[in-house]
């Protein structure tokens, strides 16, 4: 269990004192500047939000079992999907991989003692928490019913729910995102260990770097756009209100200038995780390392130019539609490169079907399905029919739940021994992964058919001919929901009863595996010196 990759000259001596041993009072956690502890604070918070968002999903799915709007009132249903979208996007999925896995692993993977700005890192968590509190306050005060997209003038002039509170919540969390991004960028630039050149960085670090860039360049736009909504609500004036000469489409441009890059904030980290998992699981170095990097960078840059594909039927000009459509096709090319390279990495490998490998393989498949249906939507003439139907809902759940959430869980399973020093039950973990895969497809595949059959999204009640598929989808959600509970149980169990993991249970290469599990406070007793690329696997 201690095969340390020969790539690194100075393996750290095995210490005895992990970062958990540096005091365990609540105060010591709430004032910590250790990136590893902050990652754990985040992990707890986003799990909480994931559960909240899932409850809202359960409400959605229960309502949609019958065509009539009988279980909840229309208001409640609208609030449920709004809350689901807001919480899942801003309080779970955007932070998920970066703030937990990224925070914990980025310094470890580049051989640093901490983030460049540890205090800022803690501050980001507090911002996140405060933003979350505002959002929950909005929930307690009665909820919001605008949809997560806050389209004007509905959100400014017509909704009389707590839009303002949610906007403040998202605004504050946005700052948290920006500061996290800033920290990642500076850390990657200045704190790399000696010998850790740019082309020796693990792909996960590259993904974190790219995602940090997107976070910093996109989030400010969201913050100001939402502020403008707040302004309009407060003072009854504003630039999105047609009654005053404003333009609702301007809001959509601003919102999607942020929100399309934001979807890449949600997928790039997942791609980074998948690259680490697949190489280790197949015991093969990644195929086409440099192309993978170019693809990451390409996605994050071109991703900024495609936002208008959400507006093909909004009244935007035909010519803008043409430009956004072709750019959307172009941004799919780097994604294709990644899918093909992951597949090629398996070739001539030695593949172990650990739970995290199952997640990784599931990720590639589901991401591909979601991505390819994204191309249907990018094809303007099809989007005219499919937009705002369940086809879109299925598209993004395939990528976000099937892709990103699967990758996140895969990452948690892969690095769990590193985080906690314990092993979990491999059998249960595999079972949960497979159950999740089945439940997921049962939930969301029918939604493609629903969308093609013409069922619009955000519908509290629907025509009876759609019922069969909706019942299937709800049944799938139940399976999926139960599958989500399993890891919570067996991972918690492993904290006490799991076997000790040792520094490198998967015989993985990468600096994070050189140090103890869990790592000591300053990560490495001796700063490692890097002489090779990131992946040193032989089958």
């Amino acid at each position: 269990m201690s095969v340390i990759s020969p790539a690194f000259e100075t393996p750290a001596p095995i210490g005895h004192r992990s970062f958990y041993d540096e005091g365990n009072t609540l105060w010591s956690w709430l004032t910590t500047r250790d990136h590893k502890r902050i990652a754990i604070l985040y992990a707890i918070s986003i799990t909480f939000f994931f559960l909240l968002g899932s409850l809202a999903a359960a409400m959605i799915r229960l309502e949609l079992v019958t065509p009539a709007g009988d279980l909840w009132s229309a208001e409640t249903y609208n609030k449920a999907f709004t809350f689901h979208g807001v919480v899942m996007v801003w309080f779970f999925l955007i932070p998920s991989i970066p703030v937990t896995l990224g925070n914990f692993l980025l310094p470890l993977m580049i051989g640093a003692r901490d983030m460049a700005f540890p205090r800022l890192n803690l501050f980001s968590w507090y911002l996140f928490a405060v933003g979350g509190l505002f959002t929950m306050a909005a929930l307690l005060a009665g909820g919001v019913d605008t949809g997560w997209t806050f389209y004007t003038p509905f959100s400014t002039m017509f909704s009389n729910t707590n839009v303002f509170l949610v906007i403040i919540g998202v605004f504050i969390t946005g700052f948290s995102t920006i500061l996290t991004g800033l920290n990642f960028i500076v850390t990657t630039h200045s704190l790399r260990a000696p010998g850790m050149t740019w082309f020796r960085l693990p792909l996960f670090v590259w993904a974190m770097y790219a995602v940090a860039l997107v976070m910093m360049l996109a989030t400010p736009v969201l913050a100001m756009t939402l502020s403008l909504i707040g302004l309009e609500r407060f003072f009854g004036v504003g630039i999105f209100d047609p009654a005053m000469g404003g333009d609702p489409l301007l809001f959509q441009h601003m919102f999607w200038f942020y929100s399309h890059p934001a979807v890449y904030i949600m997928i790039l980290p997942a791609m980074g995780v998948a690259s680490e998992l697949i190489t280790c699981g197949a015991r093969r170095n990644i195929f086409g390392y440099k192309f993978m990097i170019y693809a990451i960078v390409g996605i994050s840059v071109i991703g900024f130019l495609v936002w208008g594909h959400h507006m093909f039927v909004s009244g935007m000009s035909l010519y803008a539609g043409i430009v956004f459509s072709i750019l959307s096709f172009l941004v799919a090319v780097p994604s294709a490169i990644k899918v093909f390279n992951w597949t090629a990495t398996l070739y001539k490998g030695t593949i172990d079907f650990t739970a995290w490998m199952l997640y990784a393989i599931g990720f590639v498949g589901l991401f591909m399905l979601g991505g390819v249906t994204g191309l249907f939507l990018a094809a303007t003439a099809l989007d005219v029919d499919l937009t705002d139907t369940f086809f879109v809902v299925a598209h993004f759940h395939y990528i976000m739940v099937g892709g990103s959430v699967m990758a996140y869980l895969g990452g948690i399973h892969y690095w769990w021994p590193k985080f906690t020093g314990r092993m979990y039950s491999a059998a249960w973990a595999r079972f949960a992964a497979i159950m999740m895969f089945v439940g997921f497809n049962l939930t969301f595949f029918p939604q493609y058919l629903l969308g093609w059959a013409g069922m619009p999204r955000r519908y509290h009640q629907y025509d009876p001919q759609y019922q069969l598929l909706n019942v299937l989808s709800s049944a799938g959600a139940a399976v999926l929901g139960l599958a989500y509970l399993l890891p919570i149980i067996y991972l918690a169990w492993s904290l006490r009863h799991g076997a000790p993991a040792g520094p490198n249970p998967w015989r993985a290469s990468g600096l994070e595996w050189l140090t103890d599990s869990p790592p000591p406070k300053h990560n490495f007793e001796v700063t490692p010196v890097v002489t090779h690329g990131p992946y040193q696997y032989t089958p």
Binding site: H189, S190, L217, V221, L249, L250, H253, M254, F257, F304, L305, G308, G315, M316, S317, L318, Y319, A320, V323
Partner: protein
């Protein structure tokens, strides 16, 4: 990050004051030009003056003249992204064809 270490920020005070003089002159030019009716060009002229002032501050007060390529790129990227946002959005507005006459 390991660019040449210049004696950043050691311009003589006199030079710094001269830079300030240039800035104030540009400001004056901008205000002055706005009082002359040039039609659409008024805004262009004053914006050009603003860009020059911003560049002066970036270059001299913020020492970007001696900055590394990396720093210059970081300084530029905000502006570049803003330009993307503005140009593409206007692209939509400029090309919205009116509803063609139905008969």
């Amino acid at each position: 990050m390991n660019g040449p270490r210049r004696k950043n920020g050691r311009l003589p005070v006199a030079d710094l004051l001269a830079v300030l003089g240039v800035l104030v002159l540009l400001l004056g030019a901008s205000i002055g030009s706005s009082l002359v009716p040039l039609g659409g060009w008024n805004t262009v002229v004053s914006l050009v003056a603003s860009v020059l002032m911003a560049l002066t501050i970036l270059g001299f007060f913020m020492h970007l003249r001696h900055g590394t390529v990396l720093l210059r790129m970081v300084a530029a990227i905000g502006f570049v992204w803003l330009a993307i946002l503005i140009v593409i959005t206007f692209g939509d507005y400029f090309t919205r064809i009116p509803v063609p006459p139905p008969w």
